[in-house]
């Protein structure tokens, strides 16, 4: 049953998902072939920086849009399939609410992980442009020193962190929508508000944790300016651990909320 549910969840929106990620990759290929492979890193610094900033901003924007679109796709499937007219069919299938929820969690995670893989691989693809590699070799040592770790390790850490965060991202969407539907008059509006409240709670908690563990960059640096690189590295691993714990805790709470709503408070209008 779970398998079948996941299959149909993945089928939904597959086209949109493929199209937006194909566009992303096309942009990455163009970016590498027509920009990164040709750019002259020996050009005057001022000129180089402004062009690079423009290029990176465009890609950061593009990546954000693609991630947002993926999140919207996951949220839309959850909302439409469970809480609108389509829910009349979904909830009369011979599946339990727990199966329905897990199908949504797993399919959401699959979408999200695929999205991350495609984003990071596009980044990596642009990064390995020989032109960029040559330029980086000149500043690699400096860069490693300020990060406290090689860039490759940093990159892997980022990938790992975001993949671990996938479950809690998906659950945050689902919990917000489930809470929103408890207020039939403004379901979508409340879902959005709840999402931001969750977001703020997580932000406040992680800031709190950083302060408690004295990991905030400002504090750490002023306390020990001598060993800048080491503190940067501690900061990164610290943040990593805190995020891990926080998102695990939040994911459990959000799972419990969603589970309770779907099993006890389901009321289709």
């Amino acid at each position: 049953m779970l398998k079948k549910l996941i299959k149909y969840d993945l089928k939904y929106g597959a086209k949109i998902f493929i199209v937006i990620h194909a566009l992303l990759w096309i942009a990455a290929i163009f970016g590498r072939v027509f920009f990164l492979d040709r750019i002259d890193f020996d050009a005057p610094t001022e000129q180089l920086v402004s062009v690079l900033v423009l290029f990176f901003s465009a890609f950061v924007l593009l990546f954000s849009v693609v991630s947002l679109a993926t999140a919207l796709l996951i949220a839309a499937r959850f909302y439409k399939n469970l809480f609108t007219d389509e829910g009349y069919l979904t909830w009369t299938l011979p599946a339990s609410p727990v199966q329905q929820l897990w199908a949504k969690i797993l399919s959401g995670c699959i979408w999200n992980i695929l999205d991350l893989i495609l984003l990071y691989s596009a980044t990596y693809f642009m990064w390995i442009s020989p032109n960029v590699q040559n330029a980086y070799r000149m500043i690699a040592a400096e860069f490693t020193a300020s990060l406290g770790m090689p860039l490759s390790k940093f990159f892997l850490l980022m990938v790992l962190l975001s993949i671990i965060g996938v479950g809690s991202n998906v659950l945050m969407l689902y919990a917000s929508i489930s809470i929103g539907q408890l207020f039939p008059a403004h379901r979508l509006l409340l879902s959005v508000i709840v999402y931001f409240i969750f977001y703020m709670i997580i932000y406040a908690l992680s800031m709190g944790a950083l302060i408690i563990f004295k990991l905030l960059p400002g504090i750490a640096l002023s306390a020990n300016t001598v060993n800048e690189a080491a503190s940067m590295s501690t900061y990164l691993t610290g943040t990593f651990l805190i995020s891990l714990v926080l998102s695990a805790v939040m994911a459990v709470i959000q799972y419990v909320i969603t589970h309770l709503i779907l099993t006890r408070k389901l009321n289709l209008i």
């Binding site: 079948k4 149909y8 939904y12 439409k80 007219d85 389509e86 829910g87 009349y88 069919l89 909830w91 009369t92 299938l93 011979p94 599946a95 339990s96 199966q99 006890r264 408070k265 389901l266 009321n267 289709l268």
Partner: protein
């Protein structure tokens, strides 16, 4: 417990805010009947139906299908047609058939394909391209192609023309297995009166009448339709 009981509601109550959509409803239905669920708009028909299907949670009381509360086990034996379109409009008719076949063990692809052919509906069409009436027919075909124990049809003939209405009633009669129970909610009483065994009148969230059609005609010498008009006179 009686083996023949398919549906049982005990002091079933559903409250929305301060409004009682259903209050203390008791009802027992036996298998092998076609039952009309009649009542004016807002009387609680759809609320009752949604409670049976587990789309709403009761405020108090309980609803049991073959002595089981709404659950995956009851959903296996209940075939439900809601009063709205529940099909993802981007799907094709054929995909819907596959979907039903994947999830319901009692779904017959053959029956469904035959009915689509009879009604000249092209299975390769997307749902969104179909007219409202055709969409309703597709949903009814999906629901009636299951070999269920309890069929619940909420306003099955509301949006189609009289000719299609006749076909749909025939389709219901043809596909309904005699051990099954069919609960049909409608306001078009005259059209379905002849196929009913029993009628339930619902008024203000309570059962106002539960009688067989022949009882009504023999005892009161009038049709269900005229009795309905009398009971629910404005």
């Amino acid at each position: 417990m009686n083996e023949n009981v398919i549906l049982e509601c005990q002091s079933l109550t559903k409250k929305y805010g301060n409004f009682y959509a259903l209050s203390n409803l008791d009802l027992t239905l036996e298998k092998g009947q076609i039952v009309g669920l009649l009542g004016p708009n807002g009387s609680g028909k759809t609320t009752l139906i949604k409670l049976i299907n587990g789309l709403l949670t009761p405020t108090a009381g309980q609803v049991m299908i073959r002595q089981m509360a709404p659950s995956p086990a009851t959903k296996k034996i209940v075939s439900y047609l809601p009063e709205r379109s529940y099909i993802n409009p981007h799907m094709k008719v054929q995909e819907m058939l596959t979907y039903f076949a994947a999830f319901y063990d009692d779904f017959s692809l053959e029956t469904a394909t035959g009915m689509l052919r009879d009604l000249e509906i092209d299975p390769s069409m997307r749902l969104r391209a179909l007219s409202k009436g055709t969409k309703e027919k597709v949903q009814l075909i999906l629901v009636m192609s299951r070999d269920a124990q309890l069929y619940i049809l909420d306003e099955p003939i509301g949006g189609v023309d009289p000719a299609a209405r006749d076909y749909i009633l025939r389709m219901i009669l043809k596909n309904y297995n005699e051990d099954a129970t069919l609960l049909i909610s409608t306001h078009l009483i005259t059209d379905i009166e002849n196929i009913l065994d029993r009628v339930l009148f619902i008024q203000n969230g309570q059962l106002a009448l539960n009688a067989s059609v022949d009882e009504i005609r023999t005892d009161r010498g009038k049709s269900v339709d005229s009795l309905f008009r009398e009971v629910f006179k404005c």
